[in-house]
């Protein structure tokens, strides 16, 4: 009986044919997982970045509004916490004020209020300070 040329080919293929080994399978799985982990990390980083920008912009607008309200108000000597108008807060954000006075020695707190105040506005959210900005108010 003679082998046909097709049988020879079949025979050759069958002899070399091997399935994927466990190591190969695991390597493939590891590469796919690695790609997925990178993708998830990218998404997470993007979300954190956008949230940070969002926090910054809202905090900046709050700080600006607070300073503008104080600039607009009449000068108050030795101001208490409610002497100057305060901005309508955005939920989740805390606006705090600190006021220092000018005297002959320079700006320090507490000193005698001689008609020049250094006003520092700090906006925080979730216990973290986001924006801190300072300006001066003069009695004129």
């Amino acid at each position: 009986m003679k082998y046909s040329s097709t049988d020879h080919l079949l025979q050759k293929i069958a002899r070399n044919e091997k399935g994927a080994t466990l190591v190969e399978e695991l390597t493939t799985l590891a590469i796919i997982s690695f790609g997925l982990v990178i993708l998830v990390a990218m998404i997470t980083t993007g979300v954190i970045g956008v949230r940070t920008v969002d926090d910054k912009v809202l905090a900046e607008s709050l700080a600006r509004s607070q300073l503008e309200l104080i600039k607009d108000a009449a000068y108050e000597y030795d101001p208490g916490p409610t002497s100057y108008p305060s901005v309508t807060p955005i939920s989740g954000y805390i606006v705090s004020l600190s006021i220092e006075y000018w005297d002959s020695g320079g700006i320090a707190s507490p000193q005698i209020d001689n008609g020049l105040q250094k006003i520092t506005v700090t906006v925080s959210t979730g216990g973290t300070d986001i924006v801190q900005t300072a300006s001066f108010k003069v009695d004129r």
Partner: protein
């Protein structure tokens, strides 16, 4: 699957060869479905998050740019004259030589700032680009205090802020 043909006397090794069983095929299919499911979910999430991030950045940028321009103009102005139609109003210098006119562009859905010097238009700026309705921006005054409320909308994302400005020129 048996690819041998014993009657034709093919190498006996070939007769040892066995194909994949139904169980193996089903297990392979099951794993493939899970893997492709995870990949598809990740891709969809990636696109959704990208769209969300893009919208967020657009509206926060609107608020940031608008508040910078308004802050700059209010600093130089001493009064605000409310406008009619698509004009919100005009911020005036004490001698009215320079004016900053804020209006709504319905076609571009944008807040427009025009600088007018001695009655002639000098520059035109788009201050906010995602204002979907004219009523999404409003100007109000109390003495020298100007309050501007801006609502910016992009996709499903909306952000509103009230920003205070003190018109300080005397």
């Amino acid at each position: 699957m048996n690819r041998t043909c014993k009657t034709r006397g093919v190498d006996p090794n070939l007769s040892q060869e066995q194909g994949t069983s139904l169980v193996e095929v089903l297990v392979a299919m099951g794993i493939s479905v899970i893997v492709f499911g995870v990949i598809t979910t990740a891709m969809v999430q990636f696109m959704l998050v990208t769209r969300w991030g893009n919208s967020q950045l657009q509206i926060t940028n609107d608020i940031q740019v608008a508040s910078l321009w308004l802050g700059r103009d209010a600093l130089e102005a001493s009064s605000f004259t409310a406008g009619t139609g698509n004009v919100y109003g005009i911020l005036n210098w004490p001698d009215s030589s320079n004016q900053f006119r804020y209006s709504y562009d319905a076609l571009e859905q944008a807040l427009i700032r025009e600088h007018i010097e001695d009655g002639s238009l000098l520059t035109t700026h788009t201050v906010a680009r995602y204002i979907s309705d004219q009523n999404d921006v409003s100007f109000s005054t109390a003495g020298s205090l100007l309050t501007v409320s801006i609502t910016s909308t992009s996709g499903d994302e909306i952000k509103s802020v009230d920003i205070e400005f003190s018109m300080r020129a005397r």
